[in-house]
């Protein structure tokens, strides 16, 4: 045989897992939430989502091609995911130019300035979202009421349940409404059932583990009880579901082992409720996740996975 044999170290087979596969898996898990957002917010939702996704992909392409001069990786789906998650965190009546700014910040500052996928410290979509929240507080906190199919910038807005609670009033929506998503709020966060469907899908596909979301839910519920808030309302409103299932579990910016994930999730849950209760913003999820993103390297350094033989059960 004159052909040269290939030599490499074991293992010689691969599972076929790919980065692309994981990213598209998350995108598939987001489809129920996407559909509900289109159902409740119609045209506005469509415009916001399309703008955010397209501009994120475009910015990633431009930066990789012309600024970093590296191979473009827009096909791996991570930019699409960032765009979609960013859109899900925006109100449906946001002007296009604000969305584009948000995308630029998310991709340019949140992701590419650290060296691209895998190297960013913070969740890029949240970086974009928080930047917009601080820069355009009015636009970012006036959420259209659901059910206005054909309206975009002219949609009637109203205060969200969380804003009402923070102002000391009743939430104004029944738990059932909140569960199915018939309330005003950011695009993707309104329907708990759609998000939970996505969560189930990701668990079955083993894209994520249960640790972070469950830790967030449990601790957030406990904290809201301690703070005298209604845990059901807190869990189902204001992007906690979206944040816990899709944002906090972002591979790159969350801890690498199960112990670390539980600590991370618990702190996010607690911080969210604390910010909601005592902070100036009625909504605390984004800030809580970004704060804990910053602690992720620390958690990775000091919290090691459970090791084989750690508990010696001799005799």
């Amino acid at each position: 045989m004159d052909k040269k044999l290939i030599v490499s170290l074991s293992p010689h087979i691969h599972s076929g897992n790919t980065v692309k596969g994981a990213m598209y898996g998350v995108l598939i898990a987001l489809i129920p939430a996407l559909l509900t957002s289109l159902f409740f917010f119609g045209l506005g939702a469509f415009i916001v989502i399309v703008t955010a996704v397209l501009s994120c992909v475009l910015f990633e392409f431009l930066i990789q091609k012309f600024l970093l001069k590296q191979k473009t990786t827009i096909c791996d789906g991570s930019a699409v995911l960032t765009g979609l998650l960013l859109a899900f965190n925006l109100p449906s009546n946001l002007p296009i130019w604000i969305i584009i700014i948000g995308s630029l910040v998310a991709i340019g500052i949140g992701k590419m300035s650290f060296g691209g996928l895998g190297n960013n410290i913070f969740n890029p979509a949240l970086v974009g979202r928080v930047f917009l929240l601080i820069s355009f507080p009015t636009a970012m906190t006036s959420w259209p009421l659901p059910g206005q199919w054909s309206s975009y910038l002219d949609a009637t807005t109203g205060a969200t349940p969380l804003a009402l609670i923070a102002a000391g009033q009743e939430a104004g929506y029944s738990p059932m409404d909140m569960f199915f998503g018939s309330m005003n709020g950011s695009l993707g966060e309104v329907s708990a059932i759609a998000l939970l469907l996505g969560f189930a899908y990701m668990l079955i596909r083993k894209i994520i583990t249960w640790h972070i979301p469950v830790a967030i839910f449990v601790v957030a519920a406990l904290m809201s009880l301690i703070c005298g808030l209604n845990p059901i309302e807190q869990l189902f409103s204001g992007g906690l579901m979206l944040g816990a299932i899709f944002m906090a579990t972002d591979y790159v910016s969350s801890p690498m082992n199960k112990r670390g994930m539980i600590i991370y999730g618990a702190f996010i849950g607690a911080l969210t409720i604390l910010i909601r209760k005592f902070g100036a913003y009625p909504e605390g999820m984004s800030f809580a996740i970004l704060i804990m993103n910053a602690f992720t390297p620390l958690i990775n350094t000091y919290v090691k996975p459970k090791r084989f033989g750690e508990v010696v059960k001799n005799g």
Binding site: K4, L5, I6, V7, S8, L9
Partner: protein
């Protein structure tokens, strides 16, 4: 008036308190430092280039003061002059600095050393060496994945994309030894730079028996002992089927080079040239040429540095006289291609040196 007075007094008092605190802290945290470090530091060129292998001139001064002899310590920028000053400051003997340079002892390019398998693992020589003996029949030669390049802090060693072997830039190399440690095959050696960069060494580390080694690589040392018999200074030893030229005994007479039947002995930078910027692969004209000329960019006009562009020009007239001839003779029976292409040597060498980027692209 009163206001000014109050302001002055207040500021004055604050200043005084600050001064006292500073004084006390300075006393408390005073670290004794050998005053000679500062003195040595003063005579150094303050280029902070790190060429000596220490973090800046201060670090080098520190090392000089702590060392019992100045042997092995050398400031490549200041040279002998500065080292003499350092020695006088420290009251020590001037140790004649023997500038060294890293030398890659392998000529196993793709053509002389055909590959027998292909490696498909992590791009690291250390990992590859851990995996198996190498892609070729020679289990001692260069792997070519560039651990040495990564290890070099001075950008002095680069892979030649044509030969697949690392090449050392004499001017940038500070002989810090990082590449020597990085190479898992122990191919790189620090050798004396030699007068006018003239060096002669056995460019092979294959310890296999002659037949095996020769089969794996046409440029391998086959331990035929011809060079050993030829050497008038007893500088060549043969151990483990490999010849080695003792740096201290070698007088660079170059008698061994023509007798080597495989061309494993490499003589560099003969005949004398004032300044020639590179490389240990210089007398090995085989590979680069055919790969490069078809690209139509064999010349190196895009040369950034003026002196380096000048060098090849000076090189050409000399080549046929001395260095090419002996090699053509001795390699005749071994390798016809070598002979045929020898006259193109300077061009080829030069391309491989300076046009690395372009070659990489055009390939």
């Amino acid at each position: 008036m009163n206001l000014i007075l109050i302001a002055l007094i207040t500021l004055g008092v604050i200043g005084a308190i600050g001064a006292v605190i500073l004084y006390l802290v300075a006393q408390k945290f005073y670290v004794y430092e050998d005053p000679r470090i500062a003195q040595v530091d003063e005579v150094l060129p303050q280029a902070n280039c790190g060429g000596c292998g220490y973090p800046g001139c201060k670090g080098f001064a520190d090392a000089c003061v702590k060392a019992t002899t100045l042997e092995g310590l050398n400031c490549p920028v200041g040279g002998a002059e500065v080292m003499a000053q350092v020695a006088s400051v420290l009251g020590q003997e001037v140790v004649a600095a023997d500038p060294k340079v890293a030398v890659v002892r392998c000529q196993g390019s793709c053509e002389v050393r055909p590959s027998t398998s292909q490696y498909d693992g992590a791009k690291s020589c250390a990992v590859a060496a851990n995996t198996f003996s190498g892609e070729t029949g020679c289990s001692f030669g260069c792997i070519g994945l560039g651990d040495c390049v990564v290890s070099c802090e001075f950008d002095a060693i680069h892979m030649n994309p044509v030969t697949g072997l690392p090449e050392v830039d004499d001017e940038k190399c500070t002989a810090c030894g990082a590449c020597v440690k990085a190479c898992p095959k122990f191919i790189i050696e620090l050798r004396k730079k030699g007068k006018s960069n003239r060096r002669i060494y056995v460019s092979c580390v294959n310890k296999d028996k002659g037949g095996v080694a020769r089969k794996a690589c046409t440029k391998a040392c086959i331990a035929c002992t011809k060079c050993q018999k030829e050497c008038p200074f007893d500088a060549i030893t043969i151990e483990n089927n490999i010849a080695y030229i003792d740096n201290d005994k070698c007088k660079s007479c170059r008698k061994c080079e023509p007798v080597c039947p495989t061309g494993a002995i490499v003589a560099l930078n003969f005949p004398p040239r004032k300044e020639k910027p590179v490389v240990n692969q210089a007398p090995k004209p085989v590979t680069p040429k055919p790969d490069v000329t078809p690209d139509g960019k064999p010349q190196a006009p895009a040369e950034p540095k003026a002196p380096e562009t000048a060098a090849p020009a000076a090189e050409k007239p000399q080549t046929p006289e001395q260095p090419a001839k002996p090699e053509t003779e001795n390699t005749k029976d071994i390798n016809e291609t070598v002979k045929a292409e020898t006259p193109k040597q300077p061009e080829a060498v030069q391309t491989s040196l300076f046009k690395e980027e372009e070659i990489g692209v055009s390939r």
